[in-house]
Symmetry: C2
Subunit: 271 residues, 2 copies
């Protein structure tokens, strides 16, 4: 078991939360006080992090929102801040990388050495050798896309691949062949609770990162019933926009905290 | 037809080359004169670009090699340099992005607004709505992973998906459903010439980005015979390491030019 998975198990126990707060900063949605500030992305997210930390088991910054604004330095600062102020909460870098081994080594350096993320999301389309370089970082987690929450997710993932939908084959490969080091998790969208249940049945206690509640409309009760592990945990249920943009005034961080608390409680009501 | 595809057709005609030079900078492999220079990545690549431009139809920087070294600014500089000095040669940003629509919008901004790439590589696992935000940039190209050159490429891509291997389904989706705006290309690895031939048969004249010759061992003759379009073009045959690390002394740029010229000529011998 990697130290990421151990940290995650500890966080589930100690925080009594399965909520992962997604950090998708869009400066156009920030309160007016952030306008024209060069550290706006970091500072907006830092306040969200500090306000929502009591209700979360993890944070998930989405790298595209930083890269589109030349804000890689602010992403580094943000993750360093989380590690310093909330060391019990793992950070998952949502990057969905996928490339040949020599390039994947560079992406692993980016995620783990540069950004100091505890885990990274990756894409399985290029197969196992595209995942191995991440697994060489033994204390880190690697969370593989399986069944995604977007409408086009079915285009490939629901194709019949050898008698079962492709996403189920990915879940089986992950559980039965690829997880030799105990570092893997899977992404399974909350928009498909029945499919979460199938995946849970295939992968034992493997952690599931579940986006799609909140702005994407997934059902909390159905998600929790479908995805919980034998211990009643096993899930990182992610909400991004519904929390970080819960308010748009000067009290946005309080509004985010309130939304995070309500989401945590809604999840816990069904565990 | 997007202006990327038009530029590419012009480049194929005017350069008499199907060679795409891949830029995968690894500072540990640079000649000693670059040691401890803060602009080493830009300057190493700039000299490769200027030396190999006479033999190339395009350049393909791989973003992971820049991101692992906090060198996003040098990637911006490098692409700006190519546009300024070699405006006839399109730049493909090799990023293999793939995410839900709202996030893909951010990645499209990164590739096209920030880096000013002419095309970007993307991953099809999340389906069509994960590609659409790139297609909203009408003058740009979007090159979808189909059959990749790495050993693990078969793990998913060769699964039987509805009576044919998954990569063929991706090729058909790309050609028959997703390419409504004429902006798409496909990545098909040179390590599988028979599969290039199958893909060419499915997609008409769609451009194919073909990595895997050079360091990865693909066969040039078989690749050209399998992948050429009716016009004898249609391919961006990529070589990265075999060109940019052809020499490791002060004459590395000359060595790269020589390797690029030989590779172009080897390709042209079989057109």
């Amino acid at each position: 078991m990697s130290s990421f998975i151990q940290s995650l198990n500890l966080a589930w126990q100690n925080t009594n939360s399965l909520l992962c707060v997604g950090l998708d900063p869009e400066p156009a949605k920030f309160p007016g006080a952030f306008a024209n500030r060069s550290d706006a992305i970091f500072d907006f997210c830092r306040k969200i992090v500090d306000a929502t930390a009591p209700y979360a088991c993890a944070f998930k910054p989405q790298i595209a929102y930083f890269a589109a604004h030349r804000a890689e330095d602010q992403l580094e600062q943000l993750i360093a801040h989380i590690h310093l102020k909330h060391p019990e909460l793992p950070v998952i870098l949502d990057a969905k990388r996928g490339d040949i081994g020599s390039t994947a080594e560079q992406y692993a350096r980016e995620a783990f050495d540069r950004y100091r993320a505890d885990a990274v999301t990756v894409n399985p389309y290029m197969g196992f050798d595209s995942l191995e370089p991440y697994l060489a970082h033994k204390d880190k987690g690697v969370i593989v896309l399986c069944r995604t929450s977007n409408p086009g997710g079915s285009d490939l993932q629901f194709l019949d691949a050898g008698g079962r939908p492709l996403y189920q084959t990915v879940a089986r490969l992950a559980a039965e062949k690829w997880n030799t080091t105990g570092q893997l998790g899977l992404v399974v969208g909350a928009t498909f609770p029945k499919e979460i249940e199938v995946v849970r049945g295939l992968v034992g206690d493997m952690p599931l990162l579940i986006p799609g509640i909140g702005a994407q409309g997934g059902d909390v009760e159905a998600t929790v019933h479908a995805g919980r592990s034998a211990a009643g945990t096993g899930m990182l249920i992610n909400s991004s926009r519904a929390i970080i943009y819960a308010g748009n005034g000067d009290d946005y961080a309080d509004a985010a905290a309130s939304a995070a608390r309500k989401t945590r409680d809604a999840i816990n009501a069904y565990r």
